[in-house]
């Protein structure tokens, strides 16, 4: 099944949220909407409840670091609809010192995924009930998946024999 520009995922969503959608990409049969940060919560709420879309399942949230580009980060939401069997990807661009609204009130499963993005990239989700590190120790310095974070270790109390920090 190929997804064209007339698909409900593209046309219907664009008609409803035209000015909030900055770009729409269809690549390899996957639809991606690049949306404005302010309208994230509104669009997500709509996508979940609209009878034609019914995106009731949040598959994943991924952070991407485009350092040294501006704005630096992109947060990617993978949505799935169990009743309608379709997928949609939302992207939001975030600056390093900006916060992004949390979607935990819409999908409870976003809790850990947002914590992971915070842990790995330092992206702050506003309104998250318990935003703290999930994989790394709480006193860890730095955000490992950022592009300017070194691949090999440096000296600290966890890695006393590592290389010097550059």
């Amino acid at each position: 099944m190929t997804i064209g520009p007339d698909s409900v995922l593209v046309k219907y969503v664009k008609n409803r949220f035209g000015p909030s959608i900055l770009d729409t990409i269809i690549f390899r049969d996957e639809v991606t909407h690049l949306i404005k940060r302010e309208s994230l919560a509104g669009i997500c709420g709509f996508l979940k409840t609209d009878p034609l879309l019914q995106f009731n399942f949040l598959s994943d949230i991924a952070g991407v670091d485009y350092y040294p580009q501006q704005p630096r980060f992109e947060v990617v939401y993978h949505l799935y609809s169990i009743p309608k069997k379709h997928r949609l990807r939302l992207k939001v661009k975030v600056e390093e010192d900006e916060v992004i609204p949390s979607v935990t009130s819409i999908w409870k499963g976003a809790d850990w995924a947002e914590r992971e993005a915070y842990d790995m990239f330092g992206i702050v989700f506003e309104g998250h009930p318990n935003l703290k590190r999930i994989y790394m120790p709480e006193d860890w310095d730095g955000y490992p998946l950022r592009k300017d974070y070194p691949l090999k270790g440096y000296k600290d109390r966890y890695n006393p024999y590592g290389e010097e920090r550059k």
């Binding site: 169990i82 999908w107 409870k108 499963g109």
Partner: protein
């Protein structure tokens, strides 16, 4: 103490794990308990974090396949599959029919071996050791089949971008058929030990129940979601490989408790055996890899006899292949749930960003709602029934 004085029970916090035989790996649970009642279960994970996603950004596409083996090490073939599907989606290549069938057989065998371990360890945790020994007996047969496929038992590295690494041996078909014919009888044996067992029922029925709506909202997938009555299986709803040509059922539960998750897994093993049987019958002749010299190195025999093939192989192994710019997400129904790989490519030989949607990680979020208001002993049943694997949850 006089008779009319009440015994005060203070709420305390109990640390369960990370070294605990029933937490299936390095799960650290902080349990707020009052007497034996659980007030709150707070999972603390990350003890096995190895930075797999960071590693991936610094490897060539084909070099990352062995790392996926070490995610869910109980069923490595499914992990290989999800990763190579994502890369193939980005490349836009279609693999050969034979490779598709071999992949289905490999993935379903790994589902059987994963579920066998889940049921065995679960029964062991709840005091039925026999089932573990039986389950390992059959798991051993599945591992022998993996050894026939690729020479490895646990970390296979069998699937490659563009197909599978080796064609199946002529003797594999018979051996595999023997196993899938035997398995349903052996599953009957486990069921005889567990399904109607009073202790098993008491420990699992009504324990850790979750409604379908909550399960979807929390992002549960796989047998844990189907146990709650949601009929969602990626193999059926977004068929990949050749699953749309195979006849199988998707079992579901009703009440979403531990017992339903158990019955779903038992039935899934039977269905997996059925799928393998059909795949073995339908498998066509052909190449195990696509004929695409940009991605797939030449066959071993040619490398050893032909100079150009040797150079080609060397070039491909040391430099890798370029993947078009863009991003793609591919997911499969792994034994634990929806396993997805999201790859962002900048057009080079290495992924710019690779995100793993690990089902165990998402499923673990349900521990708190499932354990709340239950007893301490139920926590063991709940963890076993969620079947987390920490290679995957901690990445």
């Amino acid at each position: 103490m006089s008779n009319n004085e009440e015994i005060a029970t203070k709420a305390i916090t109990l640390s369960m794990g990370p070294q605990h035989p029933s937490t299936h790996g390095v799960l650290h649970l902080l349990l707020d308990i009052k007497g034996e009642k659980i007030l709150r279960a707070n999972p603390d994970i990350g003890y096995l974090h190895r930075g797999t996603e960071k590693i991936a950004e610094n490897l060539l596409y084909h070099q990352f396949v062995p790392y996926t083996d070490r995610l869910d090490y109980m069923c490595a073939m499914s992990n290989n599959l999800a990763y190579v599907l994502a890369v193939e989606k980005l490349l836009g290549i279609e693999i050969t029919e034979r490779a598709k069938y071999i992949r289905v057989i490999a993935a379903e065998l790994s589902r059987i071996s994963g579920h066998l371990l889940c049921i065995g360890a679960w029964a062991l945790d709840l005091g039925a050791m026999t089932v573990l020994l039986y389950a390992f007996r059959e798991r051993e047969m599945a591992l022998d089949l993996f050894e026939m496929l690729c020479g490895a038992r646990m970390t296979h590295n069998y699937l490659r971008v563009g197909g599978v690494r080796y064609d199946i041996l002529p003797s594999f078909k018979g051996k595999c058929l023997e196993f899938v014919n035997l398995l349903p009888q052996r599953i009957n044996d486990y069921e005889q030990l567990l399904t109607e067992n009073r202790v098993w029922l008491k420990r699992n029925k009504g324990v850790g129940a979750i409604s379908a709506e909550d399960a979807i909202n929390l992002g549960l997938s796989g047998p844990n979601l189907r146990g709650a009555g949601v009929k969602w299986d990626i193999r059926k709803d977004e068929p990949y490989l050749v699953y749309d040509r195979l006849d199988f059922d998707v079992p579901t539960g009703e009440s979403g408790d531990c017992y339903d998750r158990y019955t779903v897994r038992i039935e899934e093993m039977r269905q997996a055996a059925k799928i393998i049987k059909q795949a073995l019958e339908q498998i066509p002749d052909g190449r195990p890899c696509v004929d695409l010299p940009d991605v797939v190195p030449p066959p071993r025999m040619e490398i050893e006899t032909n100079m150009e093939a040797l150079i080609h192989h060397f070039k491909l192994v040391s430099h890798g292949f370029k993947v078009p710019k863009g991003d793609a997400y591919a997911s499969v129904e792994s034994p634990k749930g929806e396993l997805g790989f999201y790859i962002v490519s900048d057009g080079s030989e290495r992924p710019f960003r690779l995100k793993i949607r690990a089902p165990s990680f998402v499923n673990l979020q349900a521990i708190d709602p499932l354990c709340r208001k239950g007893y301490l002993a139920d926590v063991i049943a709940v963890i076993s029934s969620l079947d987390p694997v920490f290679g995957e949850a901690d990445k």
